[in-house]
């Protein structure tokens, strides 16, 4: 690596520095746009006691679900979980902690975390279990709760293309939480389908500027589909 070149060659290098007990922010919605090879590397590495901030927790044999097998996850901060049997089992056994967070609040917690904003007020969750114990303020006659932002020791992100400087573009709805995750990691690792030279991506189309990105790696992806729905042609 030299100058702004962020490209690395191995997944071992991609997750170097990840230690037991760290917090990892992961992009993805369901199985769409998940950093599947970075997750596989965390599994191979065997890091434990991890806190994951991710909208979902994958399925039994794909996505973050694979990290449940060896009990690598201590806590999930998510809006919707439980698409897998192992998850349910570990939750009920008290081996796994879950902090359910409304989806928009979760996205904003990452965005604010990456932008240096420690907390924000939102109407979402006021008067519900989510608002319990949180500071309430009234603005213009409406009640809002104070939500704290989130940053991670690592952010793991799935992009479509990146240039060697770490400028990233996403493809279709595989974008989802990835751009916010990218801003909120002390070390942000992006895996992409294609790496191009600086200048090949138009500056106006860049969705994650390279300033947020520490490491870029090219991977090959299974891209599993969770709900295959079709219409007759």
């Amino acid at each position: 690596m030299s100058g702004f070149n962020k490209v690395i060659d191995s997944y071992e290098e991609a997750m170097a520095g990840l230690e037991d007990g760290m917090t990892v922010i992961a992009g993805g919605f369901g199985l769409c746009g998940i950093p599947e090879n970075l997750i596989a590397e965390i599994k191979r590495k065997g890091t434990k006691e991890l806190t994951f901030v991710s909208n979902n927790c994958g399925v039994d044999d794909f996505g973050l679900g694979v990290l449940l097998v060896d009990r690598q996850i201590k806590k999930m901060i998510s809006s919707y979980v439980g698409e897998n049997a192992l998850f349910e089992q570990q939750l009920l056994a008290g081996e796994l902690e879950v902090e359910l967070t409304p989806q928009g609040t979760l996205a904003e917690k990452m965005r604010a975390g990456g932008a240096g904003i420690p907390a924000f007020f939102t109407a979402t969750g006021y008067g519900t279990p989510v608002g319990e114990g949180k500071e309430v303020r009234e603005f213009n006659g409406r009640n809002y709760i104070l939500e704290e932002s989130i940053t991670g020791d690592f952010a793991i992100v799935k992009g479509w293309k990146a240039d060697t400087y770490g400028n990233v573009v996403y493809r279709d709805t595989a974008q989802n939480f990835n751009p916010m995750a990218a801003t909120a990691g002390k070390i942000t690792v992006v895996e992409v389908e294609e790496i191009v030279e600086p200048g090949e991506l138009s500056p106006t189309e860049i969705q994650t500027p390279g300033i947020y990105v520490n490491r870029v790696i090219k991977g090959t992806f299974e891209k599993r589909i969770e709900q295959r729905t079709v219409r007759q042609s």
Partner: protein, 219 residues
């Protein structure tokens, strides 16, 4: 007779207006997309980051990177836009979505809604529902009027943990269309062949019944 799921979707579709941006929840709300009136332009918002959701893809069009909030493969219509989750919820929480349709377990006379959690059962999460009810001004809740055991879901006070407080003004059940105002349900329309008495009997919360309650008409 109680409305079928399709009839409920048809009735909700009558609330659509030309040029509306609409978020449809999972279940009956999703079916509303099948009843957008001919010639009307409506853009469907999917909270994972798609404005202008189209029909399911054909076998040839399937793309793992194109899904909706229910994680189903979808397409985008001409004029659609795709964006991040933060942008998506800026639209929702900023009040930019014209109509939100979602299901519920219970609603009450103060416009509270419970839709995400039944204590004692596995809790999977609220997804985007809390953001949707907090951010939208125009929400229609679709639900059955009573449980299978005949217990009312239109209550004086929700018994389940809330999704949002004081945010629901319109409810379509399989028996009636009602609006919530001043701490009561107001009966506006009834399903074809359903008596006012049956609706009264199955509504636990305070219910205001006008002299005339028109029957819904379906072709």
């Amino acid at each position: 007779m109680a409305l079928s799921r399709e009839q409920m979707a048809q009735r909700v579709a009558r609330e659509l207006q030309d040029g509306y941006y609409v978020n449809l929840g999972i279940g009956i709300p999703t079916l509303v997309a099948n009843y957008i009136p001919e010639g009307m332009e409506v853009m469907l918002q999917s909270e994972n980051g798609l404005l202008g959701m189209g029909p399911f893809p054909t076998e040839d069009e399937i793309d793992a990177d194109m899904i909706n909030a229910g994680k189903q493969t979808v397409t985008a219509v001409t004029g659609a836009s795709i964006f991040s989750s933060a942008e998506s919820f800026a639209m929702i929480r900023g009040g930019h979505v014209d109509l939100t349709v979602l299901g519920a377990f219970e609603v009450d006379v103060n416009g509270n809604i419970a839709s995400w959690m039944i204590p004692g059962k596995l809790i999977k999460g609220m997804g985007g529902a809390m953001d949707l009810v907090a951010g939208a001004d125009n929400i229609i809740v679709t639900m059955t009027h009573a449980s299978k055991h005949g217990e009312s879901k239109l209550l004086t006070e929700c018994s389940l943990p809330l999704t949002g407080s004081g945010c629901i003004k319109k409810v379509l059940t399989d028996l009636a269309y009602l609006e919530i105002e001043d701490g009561a349900f107001h009966l506006k329309e009834r399903a074809p062949g359903v008596s006012v008495e049956e609706i009264v009997e199955k509504t636990e919360g305070k219910l205001i019944v006008p002299d005339e309650v028109p029957e819904m008409v379906f072709e």
